[in-house]
């Protein structure tokens, strides 16, 4: 016999669980006897198997415990719980409604938050090899800070593939702006030239065609959107489209694939994919072995995600290769981001293949969800404490007939979870029918809650339990402590002077204060942003994109006939529509600046005011070595006497001749950068800008559209009012405002409901007192001040805390979202105070009115 071996633990535990206590010893003794015998006779493994089978076979009625719930008393008790819960809910329909509705709204908001977060987490995760595919990035100091860049030196990809055994595939990507033409359809498009491996690494499923066809230099793969745009619903495989590059090259490509519609949760996508070898059409000077040339992205696929550390360790070699050649911008170090998590860090990567909100931005929504849930829970706790005061007798009776503390706790918690469940159902309906479309509309995101999602159910159930228990725990334990005798004697009084109730109410007021301040401030901010000076006259200016200097001259010739045009200028770059970058060399260090080639008339046409010096001469070919710079340039480079200062660009000397005011070359979401203006060559005019007579810009626009159609029927017109260049940005600013307003509305609603419920409960609990006061001659004023007194101090304290907190929080949020944020002011806070005080006055006023109208006899008669 081997005493060393114990019976297997799990089956033993199972046996213990189901076996009657008084039969356990004899039954398990038998089983053990067999077990030990079997060990010696048949070996340990078999003994265990036999033991397990015996345990299962013994699981029969003769061995079972008698389940306790079968006893009759329990069923009656549970039925009674339900009945009393329902009755007490119906006796105070108002407070029950406030409870359930408040919780539903909060749960609805939480579900929206869940949908947003899920959508966010799922971004780009549909790719099969998402864990194994990495984007290569590097750190370099280009503006005085060490920044991370996503566009990598061109030779890196091929070298990595040769040197690193863990790398299975590499894929390069380069973007080019092109014109795509098929029949009458001519549009500007973004073309992505990629290695054929690209589609093996990022597994976009294809609707038609074969991803391998990208190996052919003459193939193009379209997105579904692009396919519909050019070919409608028909299958375009085998059709030929013409692609015109900016370099002037043209080439026919055969459509060999169409991608399925991309999932909503994606950042990386494409419209047109062609083989990487075609990049020479766009840029004949591109050299894939030159460290000074860059590709838009270098993706690598590893055989094992963990091998990324090995790859990282081997990167020093490339840094040493790059630094002497690309000495302009020496790479400090390399980094890698897997596609799985790329979207979390993509906000920190400059020129990456994906853009997304910052990680701080991601926190806003969950915090708001928690806020709402907290508001609703506070409401619930307050109401529960209040209504328990009315159920004191019930609790006393229960205790007398034998309920212990645990029973009462369980009763109240169960009641609460039941209510929360009800609220959850309404919350789901609210969020699916109301909130999701509402918030989806605000944020321009398509969202839906799929009921098949297992995580959603985990989330719902934990939401139910957490909300139910948190909101119910305090009242339940508090109530359960009461002694029956004291309740009947009437010496237990509570609900009126509970300090916790007041703390919760104060907290609700503070939260509401924050959200109202946010809403008001963001409304102001929208106004502020739309009124913010662009640095030039954006209202009366128009622009058109042209293909070359010749086209510019043609268009300029016809447009000059228009009497409504005050001034015209051709330019290579245009504010809001394009710029290039240059490196300015000072004796001590280098700066990366925005470079814009413009014609001398540009400053006048755009209404860009000159601060010092002069602008370019009108005579052709003059001022070739001259620069006009903006104020930021002067400030950043620390020039005290900017005019006539000499700087080096590409080892050529340039003289600064003038300084113009700062203008936003990009929307307000981006800080103004140091900018230099240089004289553009006539051949390189890609924009025609015009200033219209005030109020005539629409007429000029319509005239331009007509003339364009006559001149260039085959080219799409890319242009219009200058004011419209940042439509997307202003829409986003609008959506922030709408979002904050929506949140504030819900918060005020919840806080108002809570306040109303609390005051009502309080007043109805003191109805006898008020009746006596009235009989003794108290006026309406007396009663009003009596009710208001206990809330006044509380409100004052809450608002004293709430006002500075809201001020600081909203200021932080503004600065997080905007580079040029509204300077914080006190309007928002004052508005919040006004709204909250008036809600308070309204709530108390209605109750006072009701009490003063009521007949005191009725009040004295009530229980």
């Amino acid at each position: 016999m081997s005493k060393n071996h114990k019976v297997p633990a799990v089956p033993h535990a199972f046996f213990k669980w189901y076996c009657k206590r008084d039969r356990y010893e004899e039954l398990h003794g038998d089983l053990e006897e067999f077990f030990y015998e079997n060990i010696t006779e048949r070996g340990l493994l078999r003994a265990r198997l036999y033991y397990l089978s015996d345990i299962i076979r013994c699981c029969q009625p003769y061995a079972w415990k008698k389940p306790k719930v079968y006893s009759n008393a329990h069923i009656i008790m549970i039925r009674n719980y339900f009945k009393t819960a329902l009755r007490s809910a119906l006796r105070n329909p108002l407070s029950s409604f406030i409870n359930v509705f408040g919780l539903s709204v909060a749960i609805g908001i939480c579900l929206v938050v869940y949908a947003f977060m899920k959508n966010d987490a799922d971004i780009d995760r549909f790719h099969e090899h998402k864990d194994k595919v990495f984007l290569t990035t590097f750190y370099a100091d280009r503006n005085g800070d060490l920044d991370q860049y996503g566009a990598t030196p061109a030779p890196l990809a091929k070298m990595l593939e040769q040197d690193q055994p863990h790398i299975e595939k590499v894929g390069r990507l380069k973007n080019s702006n092109v014109v795509v033409k098929y029949g009458d359809h001519v549009f500007y498009e973004l073309l992505k030239s990629v290695d054929p491996e690209f589609l093996e690494m990022l597994t976009f499923p294809l609707k038609w065609g074969d991803p391998g066809s990208l190996k052919d230099l003459n193939s193009v793969i379209l997105s579904e959107n692009a396919s519909v745009k050019y070919f409608g619903d028909k299958n375009p495989l085998g059709e030929e489209i013409l692609i015109k590059y900016n370099s002037g090259e043209k080439k026919f490509f055969k459509v060999t694939g169409v991608a399925k519609a991309f999932p909503d949760a994606r950042i990386i996508d494409f419209n047109f994919l062609v083989n990487f070898e075609n990049v020479w059409l766009a840029d004949p000077a591109f050299d894939s072995r030159d460290w000074r040339d860059y590709v838009g992205a270098t993706l690598i696929q590893l055989d094992d995600p963990a091998a990324i550390d090995d790859v990282k360790a081997g990167m020093e070699k490339y840094r040493e290769l790059q630094n002497p050649v690309g000495s302009d911008w020496a790479i400090a170090s390399f980094d890698f981001h897997s596609i799985h998590n790329l979207h979390y860090s993509s906000a920190d990567i400059i020129n990456g293949i994906s853009n997304d909100t910052t990680s701080a931005g991601r926190l806003v929504l969950p915090i708001i969800g928690l806020f709402m849930l907290a508001l609703a829970c506070f409401n619930y706790i307050n109401m529960a404490i209040g209504s328990a005061a009315k159920r004191l007798k019930e609790i006393g009776v229960r205790k007398v007939i034998g309920a212990n503390k645990g029973r009462v706790v369980v009763q109240f918690l169960a009641e609460n979870i039941f209510m929360t469940f009800f609220a959850l159902l309404i919350g789901i309906i609210l969020s699916v029918t109301l909130f999701l479309p509402w918030f989806g509309g605000i944020s321009d995101m398509q969202m839906d809650l799929s009921l098949m999602d297992a995580n959603l159910w985990v989330f719902l159930i934990s939401l139910l339990l957490v909300t139910g228990i948190i909101s119910g725990a305090y009242p339940a334990f508090y109530i359960a402590r009461f002694q029956a005798v004291k309740i009947f004697k009437g010496s237990t009084r509570f609900g009126k002077k509970n300090p916790l109730t007041k703390v919760f109410l104060a907290f609700q007021l503070i939260l509401a204060c924050i959200t109202i301040t946010g809403a008001v401030t963001f409304t102001q901010n929208t106004q502020y942003q739309s009124e913010r000076s662009w640095g030039y006259n954006q209202e009366e200016t128009l622009y058109a994109t042209v293909t070359n200097g010749q086209a510019h001259d043609q268009l300029a010739a016809v447009m000059s006939q228009n009497p409504d045009i005050v001034s015209m200028a051709g330019t290579t770059h245009h504010l809001g529509r394009g710029y290039s970058q240059a490196i300015v060399q000072l004796p001590e260090r280098k700066y990366e600046v925005i470079e814009m080639y413009v014609s001398p008339q540009y400053f006048e046409t755009m209404g860009l005011p000159l601060k010092h010096g002069r602008t370019f001469e009108q005579t052709p070919l003059s001022d070739q070595q001259a620069l006009v710079v903006n104020e930021t340039f002067v400030r950043r480079l620390g020039l005290s006497e900017p005019v006539d200062h000499i700087v080096n660009i590409d080892s050529t000397r340039y003289q600064i001749i003038g300084v113009v005011k700062d203008a936003h070359a990009y929307n307000f979401g981006n800080p103004i950068r140091p900018t230099i203006y240089r004289v553009a060559l006539k051949d390189n005019y890609y924009f025609l800008t015009m200033q219209a007579r005030p109020g005539k810009q629409i007429e000029v626009l319509n005239d331009m559209k007509e003339e364009w159609l006559k001149l260039f029927p085959e080219e799409p017109l890319l242009g219009g009012l200058q004011e419209d260049v940042w439509t997307g940005y202003f829409e986003r600013v609008d959506s922030y405002e709408r979002f904050n307003k929506a949140i504030a509305m819900v918060a005020v609603l919840l806080a108002g409901l809570g306040l109303y419920g609390l005051v009502s409960l309080n007043v109805s609990g003191r109805i006898r007192e008020f009746s006596i006061r009235k009989v003794l001659g108290a006026s309406r004023k007396h009663i009003a001040s009596n009710i208001a007194r206990q809330y006044t101090v509380l409100t004052i304290i809450a608002l004293l805390i709430g006002a500075p907190v809201s001020y600081m929080l909203v200021e932080a949020e503004l600065n997080l979202l905007f580079v040029y944020a509204l300077p914080m002011n006190f309007y928002g806070v004052i508005m919040a105070l006004l709204v909250l005080v008036s809600v308070l006055i309204f709530v108390i006023g209605t109750r006072v009115f009701k009490v003063s109208r009521a007949n005191p006899v009725n009040g004295l008669r009530t229980e």
Binding site: M1, K3, E25, E26, D30, L31, E33, F34, C58
Partner: protein
């Protein structure tokens, strides 16, 4: 007593309890039946029958000594009650009675 007659397996258990007089507990009974009848018997089936027979009043039981081979647990020892003996006897009588009524003709297969 609703069902006072014995099932076939119950009868075997009851008889074995008699055979093992004073050392009749589930393990021993299981082994004894297995030995004598040659069929494999699950201890759970024996348990079930024992408890039912006790409920019917045909067996009575007491707890025995704790033994180390059982992990220090006591065993439940069974004895036949007078009612149990009556049940066995009645069942045996019935069988013998029926067997004796079979005429030899029923066993005379050569005629076919």
């Amino acid at each position: 007593m609703g069902r006072s007659h014995l099932g076939e397996f119950e009868e075997l258990v009851l008889l074995t309890v008699g055979v093992l007089y004073d050392d009749a507990y589930a393990v021993a009974i299981t082994k004894e039946i297995a030995n004598q009848s040659g069929r494999s018997v699950a201890v759970s089936a024996v348990h079930k029958s024992l408890y039912r027979l006790e409920e019917k009043g045909m067996l009575k039981s007491r707890l025995g000594e704790a033994e180390s081979k059982r992990g220090g647990k006591r065993k439940r020892l069974f004895n036949i009650t007078p009612f149990g003996k009556k049940a066995i006897d009645e069942s045996m009588d019935l069988r013998v009675h029926l067997r004796n009524q079979i005429s030899d003709l029923a066993f005379n297969w050569q005629a076919d």
